[in-house]
Assembly symmetry: C2
Homo-oligomer: 93 residues x 2
């Protein structure tokens, strides 16, 4: 399912127009992203938690050439599903 | 940051009441969850993609007692951050 289908689903459920829902979704994701950019984590009880984690720099050795290179540090977004979501997903297994 | 703070942030940004935003967020997450429950994946270009993955059943051996037990299959939610989000998060590194 892509973004468009999800938005039309939500629009029907909430009795709003698609463009309103598109706006809301964009704003929602924007707020989430700006929180994460500030290094803050976000949590939703019914869904899960997002947390920005720093991967430290490390030295990588090329297996053939034995050349060593420095992999720079980077930030990655980690997602941990909540217990509620875990149970919901597995309910029809 | 918890759910409440995020909601008041979005409410300010969108010029809506907190209860309206709470409603929207709940509906948004509900729609996402019901999609995932149907085994469908969800993707947002600006954020990332969620996909339900099946972990097959496997036999686990207790290291001390050597007792063997069957771990049942389970469904887990996998999140993959999008390229756009990756760049945004790393922009102030």
């Amino acid at each position: 399912m892509n973004n468009k289908e999800l938005i039309s689903d939500i629009a029907i459920k909430m009795n709003l127009s698609k463009s309103e829902v598109q706006d809301l979704t964009d704003n929602f994701l924007d707020c989430c992203i700006s929180q994460l950019q500030d290094g803050k984590s976000i949590g939703f009880q019914s869904f899960g938690a997002f947390e920005v984690i720093k991967r430290e720099e490390r030295i990588s050795v090329h297996p053939q050439s034995k050349e060593r290179s420095l992999i720079p540090p980077k930030l990655v977004l980690n997602f941990k599903q909540s217990q509620i979501l875990k149970e919901k997903i597995n309910s029809n297994l």
